[in-house]
């Protein structure tokens, strides 16, 4: 981003600031969520029941179709060749042998690719979904080591892969910026995240820190990570005239359709993206160059194309989490009261994306302190664009912050839980807004009791044979988000069945199941009378499965659509109905019909209303209100994470023997799927703590371990039985009283492990991952 763009953004931010102040000061009742969702009070319906996943049977049979599994007449297979230099130009490109190879239909390079606009980079516009904004096969320039330089289409994958190996490219390499340290030495730039400068200064933190009787001041480092969804990115793409059809693996179907439309100069309605099943996303399943390449090649060849990235291809073409170097310094009085919190540091991004890993976001709302200095700085490298990965900012930011708290507690001789509780804020410490719902202290108390926290010994004093045993804890936190654009359509038929349609996504979060429960309860229907349809860009709403916001977005949209539906039904019911004269707000769904909320015997069934009106069905569609609640309250989820580790004194190997997550995330909609989501986040957090690292060759700018054999994920034996509990206290200001819970589990987990390792060994490791060499 250049300086003019930066300035425009900052001015825009100032105008937004005024608006923000007005929203903060408005009365609660003007704000979405100001009047609690009536569903919060209903305790005996479908919501809160441990319903098994409705898509379970198709998934366990292997009958759920994923993006690379749509058979199409005349399909050809794509194989992608990647650049082997980080910067420069293609000097010679020989494709003749590849073109002549058996089965080859097309070799597409910058020489023959159709003219394309770059992808709108994620966060550069409301529906932008592109991982970067670089030209795609438009010229001979190379921008990262791994950039696609050619696409081969052939009748079989084997033929395409073989032909690709016959392409001969000679590069004219130029000096590239691929070293974090070297670029940092040349100077950093302030980070802008979602249009906001990642900087907070309250009081003079450095002076307060210097004057504090107790302080910690240390640097923490976290490496690059890759999402590694087990389903590699894939798409099956075809053209029908000017209409583009994409079977995608996507957590952003509408964003992807709109963004592809920009690339190909189409109206967004001419692009149809579906994604009924997604084999994991974690932030990675948005729009990257492969969908564009497949669509361009399909156009050129006049054939439908399947692009299924190899695992290496995912590492070369789909960005991951960037690295961070964070300083956390905390000053405290004798009583543990924080006088200063400093959390600053540097992360790497590119000139072609808008994603500085915002590692201070959790620190803005975590603790009360007299002074704050928070700052994210960036360097720009010639590398594949980094992106969002599960809890961007919080996952790595809480590692640094929560380790520092543990270090300070140790120095003060205080229990780290008590130190946290002592600095518990009564309102958002940097925004000044009230919390919508914050029960972290309760989560800590219950968790500590259940985990047996009082058995924690002094650092390095508990040994069982070869094994040093220790316990640690840390706070996890993730904001409650709801993005603008949510909408839903409800269709109700005379036989009392409802279809709820939202352009949302099911990547394994349990969306389909949980929202069937919610809709059934709202409408007063049984689960088998409700169908939720999703994963299709032609459905209502702009709903990103990201930021843990999908539940809130869908929840608010369905509330709005149900309100509209009730209005329609009341009109149809007319004057002969027991409901005559009532307003939609006074009416809710119950037992297959509508009733007056505070007088449930005043009711009429859907079937009766529709048949008297001579209608087979009624449909209503509505948009959710703008998410002003986010500026009116400080809205966050919390977790008290407890970990027990065993560290081998001889080999340095760390095993996690017990883990407990005690969560405060509003009302839990389905305990079965929620437990799995919490655990899933925690397990990714164990990976972050102990083994995960995308190794980047700083000389060549190339990822060195682009495979599941060399990038280590937690496997079954690495994962203990993880205990998960929750407060289940509804947030009075959110739909259903719920918070999204997809990301919270990974936050705090890294620090809980590192703090436990310190307690076991007396060794403080501040560089992730905590591999055995660092403990010997």
């Amino acid at each position: 981003m250049n300086i003019v763009e930066q300035a425009t953004k900052v001015t825009k931010t100032a105008a937004q600031g005024l608006m923000k102040k007005a929203v903060e000061l408005a009365p609660d009742s003007w704000i979405p969520g100001g009047n609690p969702d009536p569903l919060i009070r209903q305790q005996h319906g479908h919501v809160g029941k441990p319903v098994s996943r409705l898509d379970g049977p198709v998934k366990v049979r292997g009958a759920a179709p994923f993006a690379a599994e749509f058979a199409t007449e005349g399909l050809v297979y794509a194989s992608v060749a990647f650049s082997t230099v980080a910067k420069g130009r293609i000097a010679t490109l020989d494709t003749a042998t590849a073109e002549a190879a058996p089965g080859v239909v097309l070799v597409m390079t910058y020489r023959n690719a159709p003219r394309l606009k770059p992808m709108p980079a994620f966060m550069s516009a409301a529906k932008a979904a592109g991982g970067d904004s670089l030209p795609i096969l438009q010229d001979e320039r190379i921008h990262w080591n791994g950039q696609p330089v050619a696409v081969v289409l052939a009748d079989t994958q084997e033929q395409a892969d073989h032909a690709k190996s016959l392409i001969h490219v000679v590069y004219e390499a130029e000096a590239a910026t691929t070293s974090f340290e070297a670029d940092k030495a040349r100077g950093t730039e302030p980070a802008l995240f979602q249009g906001e400068l990642m900087k907070v200064e309250i009081g003079d933190a450095e002076t307060a820190l210097a004057a504090a009787p107790h302080r910690v001041d240390a640097t923490y480092r976290t490496p690059r990570h890759n999402h590694n969804a087990i389903e590699p990115h894939a798409a099956t793409v075809s053209w029908n005239g000017d209409e583009l059809r994409v079977h995608d693996a996507s957590q952003a179907v509408v964003h992807t359709a709109w963004s592809l439309a920009q690339v190909f100069g189409l109206d967004e309605k001419q692009v149809h993206v579906t994604s009924p099943y997604v084999g994991g996303g974690f932030g990675s399943k948005t729009l990257w160059q492969h969908q564009v390449l497949a669509a361009a090649a399909a156009k050129l060849a006049g054939r439908p194309v399947r692009i299924a990235l190899s695992r290496e291809g995912v590492y070369r073409m789909v960005g991951g989490r960037s690295l961070t170097e964070q300083r956390v310094a905390i000053g405290a009085g004798d009583d543990g009261h924080f006088t200063a919190i400093v959390h600053t540091g540097v992360t790497a991004m590119t000139r072609h994306n808008a994603m500085p890993e915002p590692f201070i976001v959790a620190t803005r709302s975590a603790y009360a302190a007299d002074t704050f200095k928070l700052d994210v700085e960036v360097v720009h490298l010639d590398m594949l664009a980094n992106t969002f990965m599960r809890a961007p900012g919080e996952a790595v930011g809480t590692f640094a912050l929560e380790c520092a708290i543990d270090e300070l507690a140790d120095r003060l001789g205080m229990d780290p839980i008590e130190l946290r509780i002592r600095n518990e804020p009564d309102k958002d410490p940097t925004q000044g807004t009230p919390f919508s719902s914050r029960h972290i202290v309760e989560a800590y108390r219950t968790g500590a009791e259940r985990f047996g926290w009082h058995n924690r010994a002094a650092p390095g004093t508990r040994r069982e044979g070869e094994w040093l045993v220790g316990m640690g804890c840390a706070t996890g936190t993730y904001p409650y988000y709801r993005m603008p654009g949510g909408a839903a359509r409800i269709t109700l038929t005379r036989d009392g069945r409802a279809t709820v349609a939202v352009a949302a996504h099911e990547m394994g979060m349990g969306t389909a199941t949980v929202h069937t429960q919610v809709a059934a309860e709202r409408l007063g229907l049984e689960l088998d009378q409700v169908t939720v349809v999703y994963g299709d860009s032609t459905l209502p709403g702009v709903v990103l499965a990201g930021g843990s916001q999908q539940t809130a977005s869908m929840g608010a949209a369905v509330i709005a659509a149900q309100h509209a539906l009730v209005g329609e039904l009341l009109k149809l019911a007319g004057n002969d109905s027991p409901l005559a004269g009532l307003k939609p707000a006074e009416v809710g769904g119950l037992d297959g019909g509508l009733c007056k909320l505070d007088e449930p015997e005043r009711r009429e069934s859907y079937a009766s209303i529709l048949s008297r009106a001579g209608r087979d069905e009624v449909t209503a569609e509505a948009e959710a209100p703008m998410p002003l609640e986010l500026q009116h309250w400080s809205m966050h989820s919390h977790g008290a994470m407890f970990c027990e580790v065993r560290v081998n004194a001889v080999t340095g190997e760390t095993r996690v023997s017990r883990f407990l997550g005690s969560f405060d995330c509003g009302r839990i909609l389905n305990p079965k799927t929620a437990t799995s989501q919490f655990r899933g986040g925690i397990i990714m957090g164990l990976g972050l703590a102990l083994m995960e690292e995308t190794q980047f060759d700083e000389r060549k700018g190339r990822v060195m371990n682009p495979s599941l054999a060399e990038y280590h994920l937690p496997v079954h034996l690495d994962v203990p039985a993880i205990d998960v509990i929750w407060t289940d206290i509804p947030d009075p200001h959110t739909p259903m009283g719920a918070h999204g819970i997809g990301e919270i589990g990974i936050t705090g987990t890294g620090a809980a492990v590192a703090n436990a390792v310190y307690n076991a060994t007396g060794k403080r490791v501040r560089d992730l991952p905590l591999t055995l060499d660092k403990l010997l």
């Binding site: 098994s52 058979a71 986040g681 397990i683 496997v715």
Partner: protein, 171 residues
């Protein structure tokens, strides 16, 4: 030249480069078996060949002439799910479902190995005739099947509930 897949004789490919995994997915449209890495590192492509689990991405289809392959599509008995499939639903042994067919096929093969007393890296007594379906044994033996959604607990619970309670279910 043919291969038995889920009890039916099916053709083998002409191209010797075709893996057993691609034969299933691309030639016979049995897409229940998944491709997560195509290099033997994730287990998503696990199928049973004559009752033994293998990663089908590292198997050349031609070499399996005459062999009997069971995929996830062949485990259920018509509409009746295999007890392990049912247990995966009850114990929430998956989220996205992409690793699931591999986990299930792998667990069926694994249970047979355990039942016949083949030791693993965590087996304490190597001379014992029988090995318990303990949590550690199951977790160790399933460690070749990655799950990124983090359904590990549900998976091990489902396997334990299916085979520990009723070892006769194991082949």
């Amino acid at each position: 030249m043919s291969i038995m897949i889920n009890g039916a004789a099916m053709s083998l490919p002409e191209d010797p480069r075709v893996s057993l995994l691609d034969l299933l997915r691309e030639h016979h449209h049995l897409t229940g078996t998944k491709k997560g890495c195509n290099q033997g590192a994730c287990g998503a492509c696990t199928v049973l060949v004559d009752g033994e689990r293998i990663v089908s991405c590292l198997a050349l289809a031609m070499q399996y002439e005459g062999r009997a392959v069971t995929t996830i599509e062949g485990l259920a008995d018509g509409n009746e799910l295999h007890p392990l499939q049912q247990a995966f639903i009850e114990h929430d042994g998956f989220q996205c479902g992409y690793c699931t067919p591999g986990q299930i096929c792998s667990a069926v093969g694994m249970a047979a190995e355990l039942k016949r007393g083949a030791p693993s890296n965590v087996t304490g007594d190597l001379s014992a005739d029988t090995i318990a379906f303990s949590r550690d044994e199951l977790a160790e033996r399933m460690s070749g099947n990655l799950c990124r959604c983090g359904a590990h607990n549900g998976i091990i619970d489902a396997i334990g509930a299916t085979f520990a309670a009723r070892p006769e279910v194991a082949a």
